[in-house]
Symmetry: C2
Subunit: 369 residues, 2 copies
């Protein structure tokens, strides 16, 4: 039972009649008072599983034990606030420690995927106003993605136009799992508004479209969600290209956030080959799909695939042909945080390292040097 | 209206009363007599689309205009039978023309995905008996995958044990899109039976699990199904590894058919990295996921990704580290048939070409030389 003030009613005294008659209550809810109680009855293996993953039903989890608990252990600030919610601690633990020039906030509160669209729009607006007041105004090193009710084109466009009035917003945020593939018409007004306001659209790991992550149904493990999320990113890249979104919005830029990058060359090769044989189905495409991918997509580094040999990583970068569109990211304060000193392979040539660590992002988001 | 004998009833004469009273029939079905009638009203663009793709609802298509029409134009035999159904023509057009030593039949009739499981089992058995009689017995160069009701472990195992008595069956066939990811318990009896009978399990392009192909919902185009099918294959590889299927059935061999291959190294890298951090979730895995992939998976060549540079293809083969597990396939009689003379890149060293064209398959399926 969820106890909220609305549930509290004055208990009435039992009357005589009730005391004389048998009563059967056929709906009483009980619950374990805490995880610890549950753990007394759970085998060790599944107790550890609950601590690690939490509950994982037929919706998938974006992060083990929900977003807040998915943090690095040391990311809980002394203030007692949840990780990522205390500006002072973010400043000292992240921005100051690593001397970060600019940071882009991606608030993952699920305003964009509320079934009540007006409620989602209200949440998005509230979150953006809070971001301005508590993050962008007090800290000049921070910029933010705007949270939008992305499942409705009109509501999303309205919030994009409104929030764009603050220069601290540099991106529109959606998730990799949406109700429909992102190329479809329901999202076009979002792109129109993003292009009108010169904002890239960031597609971030996670989300819940109400459907399984895979084309073969619901997987059993969080590990499968984590390793399998590129499936959703692949669907989005294919959809955005095949629906002609970039013919319609030639200035639109897409940033793939936390989706990896090694799957992109194979996808482009296969898509080009399929397109050669099926191009009649998408006659509005003026050139092979790989050209759209190379021109319109930026990619963040966290988490980067780590090939077993340095040589394979160099091959990957060569095949990807996107040295000016790779963007460094830490994913702070999440558990799979990338340390800026160690995240990029040590064998990267310094000019490329410089581009990835800052220059590419500075150019994309038009940050002042 | 579908007219079947069961619908034919003797028309009764209208009676007086009916003639005097107004009659409103609120359920009468009409249909265009032929595609040509429809085409008189369809704009050219969509008439060509219908000719090319057919109807494509919220289930996805495995092949444009259903399987039979997806054939090469020249694969319709003079007998008037549908492509792939006339042994004599298959012998002359495929086996004799290319001097093929052995050919593995993969009959794609959808026995495995019937909602009525007993019906599916009966269909599978019928198809396998027909394959023995009309294909395996008359033509010694042919072998076949057995069709099985793969969504039920007991029924599938029963048919595997039964059909295995004929030496012409060399593989168990399932599709890339299943109701649940193939690592889950419902499929374990199928693997147990396959391992017991020394049969690899082939996972073929296509299928319909009742859910969209992508983690972001239903795509608009067949092109997106075709280029996006590796998403389903990725889910299956991840699931088979993460559920510990290969710890349980150490001899099990999986053949990925018509799913491409370039996505495999990136998937293995990401999966290894996720596993390093989340291995507690799958404690029965004795080593990194990439080890299972290298040991248990074979891959057919059609359709192979075609990187824009020969160098990238050589890099891919090196990263894949599977020269002894690549199997040539034509996909005859389908529209995207691979010509044995031209399908493999011309720069492949002859020993590797020999392996891919025949030696690897001979070893896997234990064909006599």
């Amino acid at each position: 039972m969820v106890t909220t003030p609305i549930d509290i009613v004055e208990p009435s005294k039992p009357n005589e009649r009730a005391r004389k008659m048998a009563i059967i209550d056929t709906d009483i809810h009980n619950d374990v008072p805490s995880d610890e109680t549950l753990y007394r009855y759970l085998p060790d293996r599944w107790r550890r599983y609950h601590e690690m993953i939490g509950l994982r039903g037929f919706y998938g989890t974006s992060y083990p034990r929900a977003s807040r608990n998915a943090a690095r252990h040391d990311a809980w600030p002394p203030s007692g606030l949840p990780p990522g919610s205390d500006l002072g601690f973010v400043q000292s633990q992240l921005l100051d420690t690593w001397d970060i020039e600019y940071g882009v906030l991606n608030c993952l509160r699920a305003a964009g995927r509320q079934q009540n669209l007006e409620y989602g729009a209200a949440l998005a607006r509230a979150l953006n106003e809070w971001q301005v007041e508590d993050w962008l105004e007090p800290e000049p090193r921070l910029r933010a993605s705007m949270v939008v009710p992305y499942e409705d084109g009109d509501l999303a466009a309205e919030e994009i136009d409104r929030a764009s009035q603050h220069p601290g917003f540099v991106q529109v945020l959606v998730t990799a799992r949406t109700s429909e593939p992102l190329g479809r018409r329901r999202y076009w007004k979002l792109y129109e508004a993003a292009a009108r306001n010169n904002l890239p659209v960031g597609i971030h790991f996670g989300g819940t479209g109400g459907r399984p992550l895979t084309g073969a149904g619901w997987p059993s493990h969080y590990l499968e969600d984590h390793a399998g999320m590129p499936q959703a990113f692949q669907a989005q890249v294919i959809s955005l290209v095949c629906e002609g979104v970039f013919e319609r919005f030639p200035e639109l830029k897409i940033v793939l956030i936390e989706g990896g990058l090694a799957w992109i060359p194979p996808l482009a090769w296969r898509l080009d080959r399929s397109w050669e044989r099926l191009r009649e189905e998408v006659p509005y495409l003026s050139h092979p799909p790989s050209g759209y991918i190379r021109k319109h997509f930026w990619i963040t580094t966290q988490p980067m695939e780590e090939p077993p040999q340095a040589k394979y990583f160099r091959q990957l970068l060569e095949q990807l042909d996107s040295n000016d569109r790779l963007l460094f990211a830490t994913d702070y304060p999440h558990w799979d945080f990338d340390n800026p000193d160690r995240a990029l392979p040590s064998h990267l040539p310094p000019p490329l390292r410089r581009r990835i660590l800052a220059d590419n992002a500075r150019a994309l988001y038009r940050f002042e040097a």
